[in-house]
Subunit: 753 residues, 2 copies
């Protein structure tokens, strides 16, 4: 430029041309400004106006020159803080330019330019903290693995070594017939390794170790999930139904062959029209006095057995649930062993098998339908632990109520509601391992002039993956607790444990559903390719929220149990119970809901485990009492109880949710208390805090409505969640590596070490 003073305009020109279109409005603003500066000669004004001619933009070279001029100045004069100072420096007369600082600021304002941001953008970016965050190692990974595996370490190690063998290479055929045979073959290998019969009594060849059986299910879930479900159908559902509902004669006859997979079988409960409401099953087992047999029959198409695993191809027998009829009298649902195929695979007369065909996932499992047309079975095929027909052809049972008996039978099968959430947990671990390892390596965008940055350094990405990581750790310990409760159960605890299992099954499988969704999206296009396995993990576990009990229905079961425990505790407290309860609650509320507590936002408080647990417990208690009151009020006002429960159905889910969250937090806290290694303890403490605070954040509307927290506190919690994510990020890869999933099982190329 002829007049060096004009150089002062370079930053403005560069900014209007490079960042945005030069709009009519910008042009008008700049023109007005230039023309109004009477100190500039008309010639110079024309020159300046020529640089903002919409129809004749500056050339690429001119733009590059401007940029380089600006960068040079900023590099040489690091004190420059504003566009005005920059302009002065460029004019080579330092601040002796045509315009006053306030005029210039007004112009910047009119053009929508943020001065300081502009200057920052021209500086070389070396000190970006976003760019600098990276994976480090702050603890001994193996110590965490040992903690997670606990007493089951030996069997876990064995299973991992089996599924890492070459013959367990993933099946890539999309032909379901091929896939089903591969999975069957895998099951056979596991049976040969004595893994299938682990829970059966020793006298029938089993390992008599239920804890190990659950650990096997969970560890197998690092491999193909069709394998896990096929395994679970055969050794869990089919075998355990014989063991739990049958008696000695059935054990002797079947258990060994079931455990060796010589006798593949099914668990035939669900019917087309009866999934959740299994009490309404319509298949009949009619007793024939003349030859002491039962006739198994499917009265209509909608009473056919549906989705039955092992039915379409391999099953030779099935535990069939059917209404027992003696002399036209209905004795409720009971269980019978019914042959389906001979050992050559030929379907027996009277049985019709359908194939459920291709499914969203689990295509290695041969789900099918089964119909019975007057199929006769001998009397001893009735699984008669809880009910039987005596020699005189009379019904006998130690449990008089049909309803009660049926739910007792179902109660013995609750193990499935421990195996499934543990399998779901393993799938979440696999997904997180893949997504977190990838996000640590995948780079995208970066500071101006700097290298691209691992996407795990971005806040949204951390928010997507790290609270789920914390939750996965938390659920791990809660499922360990559930398992231990189940293994050491007393009769009196059964209902509570069944309700806990129903709830944890929902909690864990929904958690896995959400986590794998985040993992898929967090891996972008790579997450969509089947080779990276999120496809299989996600689609296979999709049905986990439905089978072994629909989650929404199970959550209501859990809630009903909580409500009935609540009522009982009133009973136990005597008639003053409810008054005392309300009084006690009010006391707590007063101490925890004072203005200081509801607004407390210091870091020590927000990270305090006692605060977390109190907040969870308060929520649990309050929601439970409120739901109980509401149902009572509705019934009092004349509603049918059935309608009243429907009205509060939404709240019932909250009752369970709040209960389960409290259990999960509590068990995670207890597990951490036992840890001695300080580094391990530190990192798990952080995960625990992240779990607690991200749950509170999720539920913050409730806390605000309740008055337990004020806005200043919920906002501080949001910031703390962000901070914890940031603090945990460097350890994230180590934390997923601690799951110790065999590399051959992970298999995803994007997760390769």
């Amino acid at each position: 430029m002829k007049n060096t003073k004009l150089q002062a305009f370079i930053p403005l020109f560069y900014l209007v041309w490079s960042d945005d279109h030069l709009t009519q409005k910008e042009f008008a603003t700049l023109k007005e400004f230039i023309v109004s500066k009477t100190g500039i000669s008309v010639e110079d004004q024309d020159f300046l106006l020529s640089k903002i001619d919409i129809s004749n933009p500056p050339s690429r070279n001119e733009l590059a020159q401007w940029k380089s001029d600006i960068e040079k100045i900023i590099q040489n004069k690091p004190f420059i803080k504003s566009v005005f100072e920059l302009a002065g420096a460029l004019s080579e007369k330092d601040s002796d330019i045509y315009v006053s600082e306030s005029d210039f600021l007004q112009l910047e304002n009119d053009l929508g330019i943020l001065g300081e941001e502009v200057i920052q953008n021209f500086k070389t970016k070396a000190n970006s903290f976003t760019a600098n965050s990276q994976t480090t190692s702050n603890f001994d990974i193996q110590k965490i693995t040992a903690l997670l595996d606990g007493r089951e370490a030996a069997i876990i190690k064995k299973v991992k070594s089996v599924i890492s063998r070459p013959e367990f290479a993933y099946e890539t055929s999309t032909d379901i017939h091929v896939f089903r045979e591969t999975v069957y073959k895998w099951c056979k290998i596991l049976a040969d390794e004595n893994l299938g019969n682990m829970a059966y009594p020793k006298q029938y060849g089993g390992g008599e170790n239920i804890a190990d059986y659950f650990a096997i299910m969970e560890t197998l879930s690092y491999h193909d999930l069709s394998l896990v479900i096929k395994f679970g159908v055969q050794f869990g559902l089919w075998g355990m139904s014989v063991q739990s509902l049958g008696t000695e004669k059935h054990y002797a006859k079947y258990l060994k062959d079931i455990g060796s997979l010589k006798l593949p079988g099914c668990f035939a409960m669900t019917e087309t029209h009866h999934g959740s409401n299994v009490k309404g099953l319509e298949t009949t087992a009619t007793y024939n006095h003349n030859d002491q047999t039962f006739t198994i029959h499917t009265p209509n198409k909608n009473a056919q057995k549906e989705y039955i695993g092992n039915a379409a191809v391999h099953g030779q027998m099935a535990t069939v649930f059917a209404k027992l009829i003696i002399d036209d009298h209905d004795y409720g649902v009971n269980a019978f062993v019914v042959p389906l195929r001979d050992s050559n695979g030929k379907v027996v007369d009277g049985v019709t098998i359908g194939d459920c065909g291709h499914k969203m996932g689990l295509n290695g499992v041969d789900n099918g339908t089964i119909s019975f047309d007057q199929v006769k079975i001998p009397k001893e095929n009735m699984l008669d632990r809880f009910a039987s027909v005596n020699e005189k052809g009379e019904f006998e049972s130690p449990i008089p109520s049909d309803n009660r008996r049926f739910f007792t039978m179902l109660g013995t099968l609750v193990g499935g509601r421990i195996g499934i959430p543990r399998s779901a947990l393993a799938a979440a671990k696999s997904g997180l391992t893949i997504a977190i390892r990838y996000s640590d390596q995948r780079r995208q965008f970066g500071p101006e002039g700097g290298a691209e940055v691992p996407i795990l350094n971005y806040r949204m990405h951390q928010r997507r993956l790290l609270p789920p990581l914390a939750k996965t750790y938390a659920v791990h310990f809660a499922l360990q607790y559930l398992t231990n409760r189940f293994l050491n159960k007393t009769e009196a605890e059964m209902q509570e444990i069944e309700a806990l299992a129903a709830g944890m099954k929902s909690y864990s499988t929904w958690s896995t559903r959400d986590i794998l969704q985040e993992c898929r999206e967090a891996c972008g296009g790579k997450g969509y390719l089947s080779e990276n396995r999120i496809d299989a993990l996600k689609n296979d576990t999709e049905i986990y929220t439905t089978f072994e009990g629909d989650n929404t229905v199970l959550m209501q079961l859990t809630a009903k149990n909580r409500l009935s425990e609540f009522r009982k505790s009133f009973g136990e407290m005597g008639s003053l119970g409810i008054i005392n309860y309300v009084y006690e609650n009010a006391k707590t509320a007063i101490s925890e809901k004072n203005p200081i507590a509801t607004r407390k936002t210091d870091e020590e408080h927000l990270l305090d485990g006692e605060f977390h647990l109190q907040a969870f417990v308060h929520r649990e208690k309050t929601i439970l009492a409120s739901a109980a009151r509401r149902i009572k009020k509705l019934v009092d006002s004349g509603l049918e109880p059935y309608d009243a429960v429907n009205v509060v159905q939404h709240q019932m889910i909250d009752v369970s949710q709040a209960y389960l969250e409290r259990v999960v937090l509590e068990q995670f806290q207890k597990a951490i208390e036992t840890i001695e290694d300080q580094q391990v303890k530190n990192i798990l403490q952080k995960l625990n805090q992240l779990y607690a605070l991200s749950q509170i954040e999720k539920n913050k509307a409730w806390y605000l409505e309740d008055g337990y927290m004020e806005a200043v506190k919920t906002k501080a919690i949001r910031k703390m969640v962000n901070q914890l994510c940031w603090d945990i990020r460097p350890d994230a890869v180590a934390l997923v590596n601690a799951f110790d999933i065999p590399e051959s099982c992970l298999a995803a190329p994007i997760a390769a070490l």
Copy 2:
């Protein structure tokens, strides 16, 4: 019983034995009670105690007898309201029993029995309102269809008739090679019907009708989504890149053959290491002065083109995005037409094609990778609308900034961000049609003694499906609006429309993701079978949240646009702008945030559209201003702008979310204003209210934190959402039928009429 007075105990015995285990505690309570009643003889006491012997429960027949005794009494004496009255009636001495009413109530309390509920349970249940809700028809379905189709009704009808032909029967093979050929064949039929070239200029055989093109994309989405994407890759991405980035010579040479599918092609932008950050692409196009050619080259494995549709099998050419290099100088990313295969399908020398293989969905689309090893193309293959190399071998462009030019090029391709959300919307409509029809027919559970009830009558099921239905209608009108804005755009509006398209693409595809998840779970096991098509809908649309721009990245783009508009509006307002803005906002806040407004819960207010829009606008404005302030504060405090944006990344998503929700609500409201038919208007009004209130409910934590609403109001809104779901339920089937999806496309057996 010998002593009829003892009959008074029947209800208690029945209740403790039938509903629950008789626990030790219950036994002790009852025993203490019986023994304490000195009026009862020892003999009678022994008799009573024999009925609560844990080791000797009553027989099934005895239980049945008790139940029948109770039912008979209750039927004969409908005035009975308590267990005490029931006991009296049973003793045949009416209230002359051994115990006082207060003693009895105490006992009930100790046993945890809710008297009134018990009595209700014994009554015949005929008046359950849950059971009585059912599908009705309150409006003319075809009028809604006509409203939805609007001016595109003719082309929609044509497309529906084509995809209902027998040759469009769904491909059931799981072999991706078979599937890909089927989809290619379908595309050929659509091209023959002149549907592919609908957007191209008439002089090249096209229909010159972009509105129709979008309607075709959306309507095709009722059929297989692989078809839609293959169609979109060929006629949209490949064809439109030639049309938007090329000039006359390219149109003449290619457009006709593209439109007829004689020349299948690709859109090769994404590279393995550059998905979101496409500015960083590494493929080079080096200009050769000697023979006036370009050399296209892939410098390293991670710079290969990835996920490219049509690449693995069918593509003969591709629009390749590459950095233009002239004399070692980098002129930024530009576009070039590069041959991949000859017309016999043989890959040309220097090109290497990979196959992305099996994917989570869209397996009818042949995605592949492409690498170039020094592939020479003639100079005229540069798509030269925005940049070219002149005869002297010099770079020329009307847009000097490389950055600006590249984003201008991308801007011309924004149509994809309209086609994809509209396709996603159609998939949500299909899913909802299947799930709502099924839920209207599927029955499970019911009132005591009554028939089972359609699952759509349950609150949780309504909450799962009906707010999504409302949202789907809302998004429909918002996407119509987006399309109209795009079709009538002026230069000045382009950035705003691009930002809106980016945002609506995310909003609609995330909405579809969530809706199809609910649909799958709402259909239980049936929803898992591929035959019911939620599998395909869900897995095919899974990648919609990633391709055409990762949703999280797009939401940040939209937010950045909102922030820059916000800054500009300050600029336009002059330096007092921000003060005025804050002042105006404060005024609104005062009028809308007074204690009466924040606590107002009357029905008229809660259902008022003006209240809804005000609440949405307030949220939008407040979040935007807060994010702007926060970024400024962070930068002022010395943070790199790149880091500052990362710190608030979470809020940036909220900025976009709040903006999009406001647009969606506003457009739905505007569409309803134009409706004349009162019945149609009524039901859409309800849907609109449900959309508005369920969004407010979702965001209620924000409203509570902000002080715009108090707990009493957010709680009332929750109830109103429940009520609206209940009110809309009878119309739900009609509302999905109004989407008018061809039955052959729905195809799901569970959705059959």
